[in-house]
C-alpha cells in the first residue's frame, strides 16, 4: 500500500480532482450558506443574546443553567428520548412493512400506493382536526373501537399526560409514507435474479427476506434509521400545532422548549446552547449507529 506505482498516483490525483469537483456544489454551499450560521450559533451559545441586541459573552453560563437550573430541560429531554426509543423503531418497522406490502404485483397497486402515501401529504391543519376527533376521549373512533373490543376505560389520549405521547406516536404511524417511498424505491432495485437464485436453492420466503431483501436494502434502512434518529430528536411540528407542550408539559419536546426559549423568551443564546447539546446527543446516537453499520449494512459497490 505504501509504495504506489506512478500510474496509481496519477489515478489518485485524478480521483482527488474529480472528487472535489463533483462535491464542489455542496462545498460552496457549505461555505456560503451553512458555515457562518453554524459557527454563529456555536458562538451565541456562550453568550447572552436576544437576537436583537449584540451578543454578550458569558462563558458557560447558558450550559450551567441548562443542566442545573432548568427542570424543563430534563423533562423535555426525557419526552424526546421517549419518542426516540419508542416512536422511531415502531415507525421504521411500520414503513418497511407497508413498503413490502406495496411491493407486490397485484392489480391496482398504483392506486394502493397513492392511498398509502396520502396522509403524509395532507396538510397538517386537516390532519390535526381529523385526529382531534379520532382521539376524542368520549366519541372518537379510536376509543369507540377500544370499547367495542372490551376496553372499559380507554385512555383520554391527548388530554392525559400519560397517553399524550403514545397518541402522537399513533398519529405519526399514519405518516410513514415518506419512509415507505424510500423503501419502495430500494425494493425495486433488488435484482430479481437474486430471488430466483434463492428460490432455486430452496430458500423459504422468510429466508429470502432475511438473506436477500434485508441485506440488499440495508443501505436504505440505514438511511431511514439515521434520518429517523435526527427527526425524532427534533420532533416539533405536531406538538407545536396540536398540544403546545401540554398537558402538564408531557409533550414539551426538546425542540419545542428550544423554540419557546428562542422566540418567546428572547433567549437565542440559551436556545443555541440547547441546540448544541442536542447536536452532541444526536451525534453520539448517530455514531453508535455508524459503528454497528459495518456489521449489517451491505454496500454492493463501495469503493474500497
Amino acid at each position: 500500500m505504501n509504495r504506489k506505482q506512478p500510474r496509481l498516483r496519477a489515478q489518485e490525483r485524478e480521483n482527488q480532482r474529480n472528487g472535489t469537483l463533483f462535491a464542489l456544489p455542496w462545498l460552496l454551499g457549505f461555505a456560503i450558506f451553512i458555515a457562518y450560521p453554524l459557527c454563529a450559533s456555536l458562538y451565541y451559545s456562550f453568550c447572552t443574546y436576544d437576537a436583537i441586541r449584540p451578543a454578550r459573552w458569558v462563558g458557560l453560563q447558558n450550559y450551567q443553567r441548562l443542566f442545573f437550573e432548568d427542570p424543563l430541560f430534563w423533562k423535555s429531554l426525557s419526552n424526546t428520548l421517549y419518542m426516540v426509543a419508542l416512536g422511531l423503531p415502531i415507525g421504521l418497522v411500520a414503513s418497511l412493512g407497508i413498503a413490502m406490502l406495496l411491493n407486490q404485483k397485484v392489480r391496482g397497486i398504483a392506486l394502493y400506493r397513492t392511498l398509502y402515501y396520502l396522509p403524509s401529504i395532507t396538510p397538517v391543519v386537516a390532519t390535526s382536526i381529523l385526529w382531534m376527533w379520532l382521539l376524542n376521549p368520549e366519541m372518537g373512533l379510536v376509543n369507540l373501537f377500544l370499547k367495542r373490543v372490551g376496553v372499559a376505560n380507554p385512555p383520554a389520549w391527548l388530554t392525559d399526560p400519560f397517553w399524550s405521547k403514545p397518541a402522537l406516536i399513533l398519529m405519526s404511524l399514519w405518516g410513514v409514507g415518506g419512509g415507505m417511498v424510500i423503501y419502495l424505491a430500494a425494493l425495486k432495485d433488488v435484482p430479481e435474479a437474486l430471488y430466483e437464485a434463492a428460490a432455486l436453492d430452496g430458500a423459504s420466503r422468510w429466508s429470502q427476506f432475511r438473506h436477500v431483501t434485508l441485506p440488499m436494502i440495508s443501505p436504505v434502512i440505514f438511511f431511514n434509521l439515521i434520518m429517523g434518529l435526527i427527526g425524532s430528536f427534533q420532533y416539533f411540528t405536531q406538538a407545536f400545532v396540536m398540544t403546545n407542550g401540554g398537558p402538564q408539559d408531557s409533550t414539551t419536546f426538546y425542540a419545542l422548549h428550544l423554540f419557546n426559549k428562542a422566540f418567546l423568551d428572547f433567549k437565542m443564546g440559551y436556545a443555541s446552547a440547547m441546540a448544541w447539546i442536542l447536536f452532541l446527543i444526536t451525534l453520539v446516537g448517530a455514531l453508535l449507529v455508524f459503528r454497528t453499520s459495518a456489521r449489517w449494512v451491505y454496500y454492493g459497490g463501495e469503493v474500497k
Binding site: P25, Q104, F222
Partner: protein, 276 residues
C-alpha cells in the same frame, strides 16, 4: 416477481384494502370537510357525508385568494428547486460514493452534521446572509440554495449509489469513459427510482413550505399557496370549509405527480442480466 398462491394473493388484497381505507381517511376527511356547511365540520359524532353538499365552497375559496397567481409563484419555486436539487445532489452524492479521494469522509460526516443542528438557531444567521446579499423580498433564498445541494438528498442518493456494483463503472473506464461520463451515462440511468424519489420529495417540501416564503417574501404578488392558506385562519377561528377546500386543491397536484411518477419507481433499475 415471485409466484404466489391465489389464497396468499387474496390475503394481500384484503390487507392492502383494509389498511388502505385507514390511510385514505385523512384525504376523504379533507375533501368532505371542504364540502360541509360550517355547522357540520365539528359535529360529534362526526358527519361522514356532508349534508347539504356545499359545492360552492371550492369556487368561493379559490376566489378568496389570488389562487392562480399563488400557484404560479409556488410552481416557479418548486421547479427551480427540483432542477437544482437533482443536479447538485446527484453530483455530490456521486463524489461521496463512487470516487475515492482524501477528505471525502470528512465532507460526508460534516454533511450529516449539518442536518443534526435544529434549524431554529441557524435561522437568524442565515437570514442575515440573505439580507447581506440583498435577497430579502425575492424568491432567491428559496431557490438558490437548492443548486448547492441539500444534505438530506445527498445522503439519500449516496446510499442508493453505494448499492450499484462497481463492475459497470470499471468496465466503462476501461472503455475510456470519463468520470462524468460514468456519472451521466451509467450511474444516473441506473438510479431513476432514487432520482424520482428525490425529485418528488423536493417538489413536495417546496410546495408545502410555509416558513421559508413567510420569512423571505415581502410582496403579495410573490406569495405562495401555503401562505395563502393562512389567510383563512384568524385569531379566534378560521374559515374552515374554505381552508379545507384550498388544502384539497393544493394536495391534488402532489397526488397526481405521485401517481404518475410511480412508473419510475416500478421500473426501477433493471440490473438483471448484468449482475447476479
Amino acid at each position: 416477481m415471485k409466484q404466489r398462491s391465489p389464497s396468499l394473493k387474496l390475503l394481500a388484497h384484503l390487507l392492502l384494502m383494509g389498511i388502505g381505507l385507514l390511510f385514505a381517511l385523512p384525504f376523504y376527511w379533507l375533501v368532505t370537510t371542504a364540502l360541509k356547511p360550517d355547522t357540520q365540520i365539528f359535529q360529534m359524532p362526526p358527519a361522514w357525508i356532508p349534508h347539504p353538499v356545499m359545492w360552492n365552497n371550492y369556487p368561493k375559496a379559490l376566489h378568496y385568494i389570488p389562487f392562480w397567481l399563488y400557484t404560479g409563484n409556488t410552481l416557479k419555486i418548486c421547479l427551480f428547486s427540483v432542477l437544482g436539487t437533482l443536479f447538485s445532489c446527484s453530483l455530490v452524492a456521486y463524489s461521496l460514493s463512487k470516487i475515492r479521494w482524501r477528505g471525502r469522509d470528512l465532507v460526508f460526516y460534516s454533511l450529516l452534521a449539518t442536518m443534526i443542528l435544529p434549524g431554529q438557531v441557524t435561522m437568524i444567521p442565515t437570514f442575515t446572509i440573505f439580507k447581506w446579499l440583498g435577497w430579502i423580498g425575492t424568491s432567491l433564498p428559496l431557490i438558490v440554495p437548492a443548486f448547492f445541494g441539500s444534505a438530506f438528498h445527498i445522503f439519500l442518493l449516496r446510499q442508493f449509489f453505494m448499492t450499484l456494483p462497481n463492475e459497470l463503472s470499471e468496465a466503462a473506464k476501461i472503455d475510456g469513459c470519463s468520470e462524468f461520463g460514468i456519472y451521466w451515462r451509467i450511474v444516473l440511468p441506473l438510479s431513476k427510482s432514487a432520482m424520482a424519489t428525490v425529485g418528488l420529495f423536493t417538489f413536495i417540501s417546496a410546495w408545502n413550505d410555509f416558513l421559508g416564503p413567510l420569512l423571505y417574501l415581502n410582496d403579495e404578488s410573490s406569495y405562495t399557496l401555503s401562505m395563502g392558506l393562512q389567510r383563512f385562519v384568524s385569531q379566534h377561528g378560521a374559515e374552515w370549509s374554505m381552508l379545507m377546500a384550498t388544502s384539497t386543491v393544493m394536495t391534488l397536484p402532489i397526488i397526481a405527480i405521485f401517481f404518475f411518477a410511480q412508473r419510475t419507481f416500478i421500473q426501477g433499475t433493471t440490473l438483471t442480466g448484468i449482475k447476479g
